[in-house]
């Protein structure tokens, strides 16, 4: 797959704090790549470095193969933290500046303002906008040049539930068009809902990298119970689709092999003369995985 971003041993230190520590990452075309990590784990600093607003101490990065960085940034729509516009200019006037820098022409200004729901207020000054509107204008600006890559830093921070749903729908929409999205978030649920790939950062170090579905699929567990737990345990011991099981109170927690499902387990037990009174597939959440990854690296 076409390589969009390649980060090579990127490091940044702020005083005594190593914000980013020899970070290596690769993002391919079409991925929705989540950078997960607790607050202060170096997510924003990393995004700042690949957008040339934070000077790295060490290491480098490549956009789109080896495109000059200024050219590459014109093909990236980015929202970093707070919306930054001139308060004394209107939405349209602010977006003209963006269009001028991105060299993308001004034809897209009206459509993106409509998309962001700001069309009626397009000739009002930025300083009269509410926080939600300011954020939506950032999104409009990021989409202005119809960029193949979007970078979002905590995209739903500070939005109301409706706004959050809108932004997530927008991200999925954009991803569906085959665009690449790189987003930083500390909201695991958010990454799980929209991302295809993710990495976990802590104290500037990468702890884990992988695809969301694989990571969640890895530890597919089924919880079962029967009237006689002893016999159930014996039967489960013979089940070919398991990799492991543990006794959890009155239930058994069976870790399944990749190609087996709860249906297989149910059929097997029934064939062995056991009727299950409980059959429950654990859909692992990224939260559990995330905590596990953090624990493993303690």
């Amino acid at each position: 797959m076409e390589n969009i971003l390649k980060i090579n041993k990127l490091s940044k230190r702020f005083g005594r704090i190593q914000a980013v520590d020899k970070l290596e990452l690769e993002v391919s075309a079409g991925q929705v790549f989540g950078i997960l990590g607790p607050n202060g784990s170096g997510k924003t600093t990393t995004l700042g470095m690949i957008l040339d607003v934070v000077a790295p101490d060490e290491g480098d990065y490549e956009w789109f193969g080896n495109m000059p960085h200024t050219e590459a940034r014109k093909k990236i729509g980015a929202i970093l933290e707070t919306p930054s516009f001139f308060p004394y200019l209107t939405a349209v006037q602010n977006l003209r500046i963006t269009a001028h820098i991105k060299q993308c022409g001004e034809n897209n200004i009206e459509p993106v303002l409509k998309q962001a729901g700001l069309y009626d207020r397009r000739n009002d000054k930025f300083k009269t906008y509410s926080l939600g509107m300011k954020q939506r204008l950032s999104i409009a600006a990021a989409l202005l040049s119809d960029p193949p890559v979007l970078i979002l830093d905590e995209p739903t921070n500070g939005l109301d539930p409706e706004g959050i749903a809108e932004v997530r729908a927008l991200i999925r929409n954009v991803a569906k068009q085959g665009k690449t999205i790189i987003m930083a978030s500390h909201l695991l649920d958010e990454v799980q809902k929209v991302c295809t790939h993710f990495c976990v950062l802590r104290k500037g170090k990468k702890l884990h990298e992988g695809s969301v579905s694989e990571t969640l699929g890895e530890i597919n567990k089924v919880e079962v119970a029967a009237d006689d737990i002893k016999i159930l345990e014996k039967v489960i011991g013979e089940f070919p689709g398991k990799t492991d099981y543990t006794v959890d109170g009155a239930s058994l927690l069976v870790t399944m092999k990749d190609d087996f499902t709860a249906t297989d387990l149910n059929d097997f037990c029934f064939a062995q003369g056991i009727t299950l009174k409980k059959l429950f597939t654990h859909r692992n959440s990224l939260e559990q995985e995330f905590l596990k990854i953090l624990r493993e690296n303690d």
Partner: protein
């Protein structure tokens, strides 16, 4: 080039404070270039005279003296342009629009270019205004005519242009260093009209200093370096000898500061994290 300049234009063309300051500056230039005659008439009406000479016959508008006279006076209001630069740079820092511009796809060099081109444009417009005002006033009042007089001492127009570019670069640098626009404006203003002139005057005139190298050192002060490009011309009307040319030494010192300012601005842009 045009692209970088247009970026700046998009930022300031709908900015009221920019137009207010520009209006004040243009008004000040108008008064300076055309007010001299009226000022002398006023002096006469107040009964002033210079060793028995009627003030209104002082030939301040004669070619080529008019160039040094007007550019010298106009250099007093350059600080208004410096305010525009300080406010525009400060806006980019406080509104994080410099950061946003970089994210959107300009380089730090292009940013430097956009501000410098704005400064140069202001300098070009100012110099042209002084030139045309000089032509008009000279045409009305000058006692001598002819191209050899009119276009003599044009170097003062170039020096005036250079003064604006250097002084505004200093303002640019200070605005990058100190993020409180109000403070920078007050500090630069007071330094320009009070602190440095007082220190320089002491170094040059005080008995303790004047025979050593102190007066020489004073020539290297940043504001002195800019002011020295155009010497005070009015001594000639009371029969004092004046420097009626732009000295190469003053150009060299001023250029030294200009290089320092540009270098520091670029260094800060390059090194500082935009947060």
């Amino acid at each position: 080039m045009i692209r970088a300049l247009k970026l700046e234009w998009l930022k300031i063309r709908n900015y009221r404070i920019f137009w207010i300051l520009t209006g004040m500056y243009l008004l000040a230039l108008l008064v300076i270039t055309s007010g001299g005659t009226f000022f002398l008439q006023w002096l006469k009406s107040e009964g002033a005279d210079f060793r028995g000479i009627d003030p209104t016959i002082i030939p301040i508008n004669d070619f080529p003296d008019i160039w040094q006279n007007t550019t010298y006076l106009a250099s007093y209001v350059i600080f208004l342009l410096a305010f525009i630069v300080i406010i525009s740079v400060n806006n980019d820092l406080t509104y994080h629009t410099l950061r946003q511009n970089v994210i959107d796809g300009i380089s730090k060099k292009e940013y430097l270019a956009s501000k410098m081109l704005m400064i140069i444009s202001m300098a070009v417009v100012s110099t042209l205004l002084i030139f045309f005002a000089g032509l008009v006033n000279g045409a009305i009042y000058s006692h001598v005519r002819g191209a050899e007089y009119i276009f003599d001492q044009m170097e003062f127009l170039a020096a005036f242009f250079y003064q604006i570019v250097i002084y505004c670069s200093l303002a640019f640098l200070l605005a990058m260093l100190i993020k409180k626009a109000g403070f920078v404006i007050v500090a630069l203003f007071l330094y320009t009209i009070m602190f440095e002139p007082i220190v320089a005057a002491i170094l040059i005139n005080a008995p303790f200093f004047r025979d050593g190298i102190a007066p020489e050192i004073a020539q290297f002060f940043p504001i002195k370096a800019i002011n020295n490009l155009i010497s005070v011309p009015f001594g000639r009307y009371i029969f004092m000898e004046i420097q009626d040319y732009v000295s190469l030494k003053s150009v060299a010192i001023a250029t030294g500061w200009f290089v320092v300012y540009l270098g520091l601005i670029y260094y800060i842009l390059k090194k500082r994290d935009l947060k």
